[in-house]
Amino acid sequence: MTISSIQLERFTAFQKNRIDFSPGLNVFVGANGSGKTHLMKVVYAACDISKTQADFAEKLVRVFLPSGRAIGRLVKRQKKSTRCAVEVFRGDMKLRASFSNHATQPDSATVTGARDWMGSPVESVYIPVKEMLSNAPGFRSLYAQREVHFEEVYADILDRAYRPALRGQPDATRRRLMTHLQKTIDGKVLIKQEEFFLRNKQGNLEFSLLAEGIRKLALIWLLIQNGTLLEGSVLFWDEPETNLNPRLFGPLIDILLALQRSGVQVFLATHDYIILKEIDLRLQEGDKISFHSLFHAPETGDIACHTTTDYTGIHPNAIADAFSDIYDREMKRSLGGV
């Protein structure tokens, strides 16, 4: 059962928004500050607690890390007293948290629907913008014991990555994806005493010696190998293009589309034209995709979202607009002012 929609009311930058998701691939585009990461973090928090059975409000605090861990700071800023509401929908189930802007503790939030929600756990992974695997040794124990100022997505991704491989032979789909990735990263991933290595003909290369882009793809290999990304799981990936050479975007999108075809629900946020275009060019019949364009509505300044299933229907498209502007200026220069 996939995440079907989200509704946010006066939460962080959102005034009132409802967004329906594709059960396959969901792509968020929009300028900085349009709420892409916030949306993904809320949905991830909801997915994560379905397994860990943690409190939803507590998880939101850990994932967003408001100053002083005061949950009320997640309410959209306005002068008067107000409350926000966060609702995530999965089939018939609804997980809801609401809290006031004066709230300092997560337990003052009202959470409903958690029992049913946790009765049907869903596996999830959130890959943050910053790569973490090379900093992994010791980080998890440090995070568990001390109040280190890191959003919990950074600790969570390491938990997923450290999972041992699934028993038995991987099925054909997983084998194919892993082989595909092995060719791209030129090796397999090995974990020794909390340290990650890429194993290939040259021996074992520690992750700190690898290009950051390769580490990201290696992480996907691990998550497929250890069975985290299986049918029914949900993958969130914030700006997969970061530190990745554009030549690797194609293979990366192939992997994401293949995961989507195997029943993984994927959410990604991107600023990159090539990522968008690769998705458009590599789509196959039957692929389920939604592009969600987030923007500040000109009339109100509030965040709005336009969802489309078609690349050409993405509007507004801040990425294409940037290209359009460059193109106009280049044509003007090339024509030497005809």
Binding site: A320, I326, S334, L335, V338
Partner: protein, 169 residues
């Protein structure tokens, strides 16, 4: 005012400019060994070599349209555009008709091609023609002043005095 027509596309040339169809087999006479751009337009201070491609032609078969787009995105079109320009330049040079800087304008009438794709092809065409000669010792007399690959919308935005339109919708 002159109107140049190529298939389903037409360009209106302003008064005072001279324009001719260049790839006309009968008048060109060397089409067996030299390629040719579609039109040559002469303005006060420059010459325009114009090449039109019309994958969105109303009568184009979808398969041919897609084949063209694939060839465009894959860069196979670059060599054709390059040779057309160079051969046309040589042809005009041999006739001693080049007295002004030449700008090479390529119009691709394809609604599916956006700024990014057209920008990439423009940059590649600049590299392939090429524009300036070796970087260590640039040519004192380059044979092309500039080149642009545009779609209909961009053409009309950048060249309002040379509007292009469809003959039939």
């Amino acid at each position: 005012m002159t109107v140049l027509v190529e298939g389903n596309l037409q360009i209106t040339i302003p008064n005072g400019a001279t324009a001719r169809k260049f790839d006309d087999n009968a008048s060109h006479g060397l089409s067996h060994c030299m390629k040719a751009v579609d039109f040559i337009v002469e303005l006060n201070n420059r010459m325009l070599f114009i090449e039109l491609k019309d994958p969105d032609h109303p009568a184009a078969a979808p398969a041919n349209r897609q084949q063209f787009i694939d060839g465009f995105l894959g860069g196979q079109i670059d060599a054709d555009l390059k040779v057309k320009y160079r051969d046309s330049f040589l042809y005009e040079w041999a006739y001693e008709r080049i007295s002004k800087p030449i700008y090479y304008l390529v119009l691709i009438a394809a609604s599916t091609l956006g700024p990014a794709e057209l920008l990439v092809r423009t940059d590649e065409l600049k590299r392939q023609l090429p524009l300036t000669g070796p970087s260590t010792a640039p040519w004192p007399r380059p044979f092309v002043a500039g080149c642009s690959v545009m779609n209909l919308e961009e053409w009309n935005k950048q060249l309002p005095e040379l509007p292009v339109s469809r003959v039939t919708a």
